[in-house]
Symmetry: C2
Subunit: 199 residues, 2 copies
């Protein structure tokens, strides 16, 4: 049976490595790049290679940077004594969009997951604490998700942070602003009642 | 407000050019490539560039080829007097999978669409007929979809083919094999009744 030439099959295979891309989408991506516009493939291929070369982790916090430091760590207006630890770079952007945080970040690059063999060494938490120490932090906010991985990692980090005499806080849990009570899961609702605020 | 570095924003923009890729998917693709595996981006970028260089249209039929001719046109066992005209390369594979066709193809690269300014010149139909002539075809099957574009293009091609004294046929329309009658649209069902076969 005739199939696509080997080069196209390799391309389809390469696209399948992207998150949530199945065989049909990968085939459509490949055919699109081989289709009408002769520059489409070159543009995408070059951009991928150039971006990978241009972008590196910020030496101080691990967020994306195009030089030694990211724009946040380079900004002298940011409060170096206040740190927020997050799991992934995308979460830095989410918190920045809120406009509610004026400190600096540390991106772990993942969460503790003992069952997958990801312990404190694999996350290189010693590097994290050395960095926070060098900044002279006084408070560390755990900007982690309220799921199992986030809770596990937060518990471990909180212990280590307290050992060093720094204040440790976590993001408040509760109902979403503008959310309908009917659709809030019962655990979240339970926490929101426990953590209720006086008016 | 802090955003991704320019290089990452360019990469997200490049991914958005792929079919059905929205801003969220494009962002996930970009972050994936900048994530844990340092080779993922290089592999995908290189594969895109190499595939674009390695693959060209078959000189005879327009299907994908890695040399002058595609494997189908190179195969002396294929019947050169029987041609099947299709709109896109992917349709060659679909027909090959059926195992029911032993002739050779011609890939138009699109369909006539007068409203979008795609006429016989834009599809370079003169090249199509010159090629079929050089093969000495006696029958041309229109392997086009049963939608508006397919019907329009088929009508035009049928006239040109008849002018040249070749037999012209089209794919049979009717209910799908294994399909449930309940879900067949009424136009298809109407055609299937008109085109009924005696047993």
């Amino acid at each position: 049976v005739i199939d696509y030439p080997p080069a196209i099959r390799r391309l389809i295979q390469a696209f399948r490595q992207l998150p949530s891309v199945g065989p049909r989408s990968a085939e459509r991506f490949a055919l699109h790049l081989l289709g009408t516009d002769p520059h489409a493939a070159e543009t995408l291929g070059q951009t991928i290679l150039e971006t990978r070369k241009a972008v590196r982790p910020c030496r101080a916090c691990g967020f994306f940077a195009e030089s030694e430091l990211c724009p946040i760590c380079e900004n002298p207006q940011r409060d170096s004594t206040l740190a927020c630890i997050v799991a992934h770079p995308a979460e830095v952007l989410a918190i920045e969009k809120s406009g509610a945080f004026r400190g600096r970040y540390f991106v772990l690059g993942g969460l503790l997951s003992p069952l997958d063999g990801v312990g404190p060494e694999e996350l290189r938490l010693d590097r994290c604490f050395a960095e926070l120490e060098s900044r002279g932090v006084t408070e560390v906010i755990l900007g982690l998700g309220a799921d199992v991985g986030g809770e596990t990692t937060g518990l471990y980090l909180a212990g280590e942070i307290k050992k060093r005499g720094w204040t440790v806080t976590r993001l408040a849990t509760g109902i979403a602003v503008g959310g309908d009570l009917e659709f809030v899961d019962s655990v979240t609702l339970g926490r929101a009642i426990t953590d209720r605020k006086s008016l």
